[in-house]
Subunit: 381 residues, 2 copies
Amino acid sequence: MLPGVGVFGTGSTARVLVPMLKAEGFEVHALWGRSEEEACSLAKELGIPFHTSRSDDVLLHQDVDLVCIYIPPSMTRQIAVKALGIGKNVVSEKAATAVDSFQMVNAARYYPQLLSIMGNTLRFLPTFAAMRQLLAEGYVGEVQVCDVRVYGPSLLDRSYGWTCEDLMGGGGLHTVGSVIIDLLSYLTGTRAQRVHGLLRTFVQQNDTIRGIRRVTSDDFCFFQMLMGPCSGGVCCTVTLNFNMPGTFLHEVMVVGSTGRLVARGTELYGQRNGSKREELLLGDGGRAGPDVKDVPLPHLLGLGAMVKALRQSFQAHQERRLWARGPVATAPTFEDGLYVQTVVEAVKRSSCSGEWECVEIMSKEPDPNQNLCEALHRNKN
Amino acid sequence: MLPGVGVFGTGSTARVLVPMLKAEGFEVHALWGRSEEEACSLAKELGIPFHTSRSDDVLLHQDVDLVCIYIPPSMTRQIAVKALGIGKNVVSEKAATAVDSFQMVNAARYYPQLLSIMGNTLRFLPTFAAMRQLLAEGYVGEVQVCDVRVYGPSLLDRSYGWTCEDLMGGGGLHTVGSVIIDLLSYLTGTRAQRVHGLLRTFVQQNDTIRGIRRVTSDDFCFFQMLMGPCSGGVCCTVTLNFNMPGTFLHEVMVVGSTGRLVARGTELYGQRNGSKREELLLGDGGRAGPDVKDVPLPHLLGLGAMVKALRQSFQAHQERRLWARGPVATAPTFEDGLYVQTVVEAVKRSSCSGEWECVEIMSKEPDPNQNLCEALHRNKN
C-alpha cells in the first residue's frame, strides 16, 4: 500500500515532483513552503489539501509516511534528520556541507528500517541503468576515461538567494556536479581517490543581482577525479558551464580499451573499437517531451523513474510504512550523499590550493569547539 | 616568382604536402628520406627528380630555395638551423624540446630576411581565421572559456619508433596538443601563464609493439591553461584522447560573456546569448573530401591553406628567394614554436608534480655542462 506523502519545497523540482507522485498513485497530503504565501499558492495550484510554513506540521501530519525534501541545501539536514527521528521515510536532496551530510548518515544508520535515499539522481534513468549494465558486461573493455560535459543557462534564481552563494550550496559544482559525481561512482563502481578542480564565477552581477551584492557561487567548473586504485585507475574529467543560455548539453562518455559508450541527453550510443560507426543503443522514443523550465530533461526523467521505483518499493507491502529494498536498491544512500559532498568540498579546496586533494570521508564529526580549544591551548603556552 | 622546394620527410604529411605544393605551382626538386629506399620509393611515387638520404644534398641543391621539414621532431632542429645558415627559407615542423626550439629561434633571429615559419598549423584554415575575426569583432563578448576536444585513433606508427617515445616527441600532447596550444594563443591573442595537466599511456603494448618494448608517449592528455592576466583571464581546457579508433572529433569552442563560437571539424557555428539556436557561420562546402589516411581533415585543409599563403607570399616578388610578409603574417614564427614547446613541457612537468606549472619562456640557452659543473662543485666541498 502506498504511503501518504509530505513535500518540502516550492521550487521547480517540487513543482514537477508532485504530479509525478500523483501519477504513480501516491497521495500528497501536505506541502511546506518557506512562506505561507508560497506554500498556499503552490498547494492550490497542485491540489494539495494541506499547506504550511511550519515544518513540524508536515513531519507530524498523521497521513504523511514519506517525506520528500527539495529545499535549499542549508535547511535540508535539519528536516531530514528530524523526519527520520519521528519515524518517517525520507527522500532528500543533498545538504550544504559534509558535516550536515554526516549527520544525515548518522540518522539513517540509527533508523535502518526507514527508507532514506538521496533524491537527486540520474541512477534510475534507463539510459544510465543500461550504460552501467553494458559496462559490467564489458562493452568497452577496461574503463580508462570518463568525460562529462554539462552546458546550460545560468542556475541563478531571478532574485538574490542561496543559488548565488557558494557557502549556501549554490553553484554548478554543488547543484549539477554532485549529481555527476554520484553517477560516475555508480557507473564505474569505484570512488574518487584524488581530485583536482577549477571554479570560476564569470558572472558576478546581473540585471537583478547588483549594487553591493555579488554572486560567489561558480558558473564554470572543471574537475578531474582519479577513481579506484592509485595506479591504473579511471580518469574522470567533468566540465560544467552555465554561461550558455539557449543551450542544454548533457553528455557522459565512457572510453575503455575495446570501445566506448556515450549518453547524449537521454539517448545512449555505443561504438566498439572494430566498428566504423556509432550505434544507437537506447533511444528516448522522441521523448524530448514537454520542456519543463529549469529542470533539464535527464533530471526530469530521472526523477520520474525514481518515483516509479518508490511506488514499486512501497507497493510490495500491505502496511503503508513498509517498503521493499529491491526496487530502490540502486538508489544513492545518505552514505553516497556524504561521499558526494566530500568530493565537492575536495574540488573546492583544490580550486583554492591549486593542488590535487585527497577525498577522505568523514568518520567522526569534527568537534565544533576545536578552533576554540586550539586557541585556548595556544594561549596557555 | 616561386622558389624551388626541397622536402624533408617521407611520412604522411610529406606525402600530402608535395601534391599541394605542385598544385600551387611550386616545383619540388629534391626529397630527403632517412633511408635511400624510402626516399627513392616516395620520390618515384610523387614524381620528384632528385632524392637522397644525405641532408646536405638537399640543403645545398642549387634549385632549392625553400626547405620544408616534416621529419621526426628529434631531427628537426639540426636541419632547420643548418638550412637557415645556408640561406634557405624554411617551413618546419616542431622540434622535440624547448632547447631545440630555442636554437631554432636564435637562427631565425640571425637571418630575419629569410622566411622561417612553423609548418604545422591550423591558423590558415578559413574556419579559424573566421573565428579569430569574429572574436576580435566581439561576437562572444569577453572571452571566458575555451574548450577543445580532439578524439581519434592511435597516433602510433605500425612499427616501434619515435611516435612511441615520449622523449623523442611522440604522444598526443606533443603531436596534436601543440597545434591546439598554438591555435588558442592565435584565437585569443594571449598566452598561457600557468598550466595543469594529466598524461596517461593507456595502451603500453599492442600487436606490433611488445616484448621488452613499451610505449611511453601519451595516448590520453588533458590539460588546462590560464591565459592572459592572472585575474580574470581565459580558462582553456583541452582533452585529447587517442584510444578511439573509428572516431575523429575535432571541436574548438570559445565561450564568452555574450555568446559562443564552435568549430566542429572545419565548420564554424555560433550562437549569441539572445538567440534560441546555433547558426552555421562557415560551412565546409561538403568538403569532407578524400579521406587521407593519418592526416585529419582540419590539418589537411590547414596545410593546403598554408601552401596557398606561401604561394602568395613568394609570388609578390620577381626574385625567387624573396617573399612578402603580408600573406604569411599570421603564420606561427619560430618564437611561437618555442612558446608552444614551453607549454608542452610545462604540462608534462605538471603531470608529474600534480601542481600548476608556470610557463616561462627560455631567454638564454641552459649550460649543457651545468649538471657536470654542479657535480664537480659538490665534490669539491
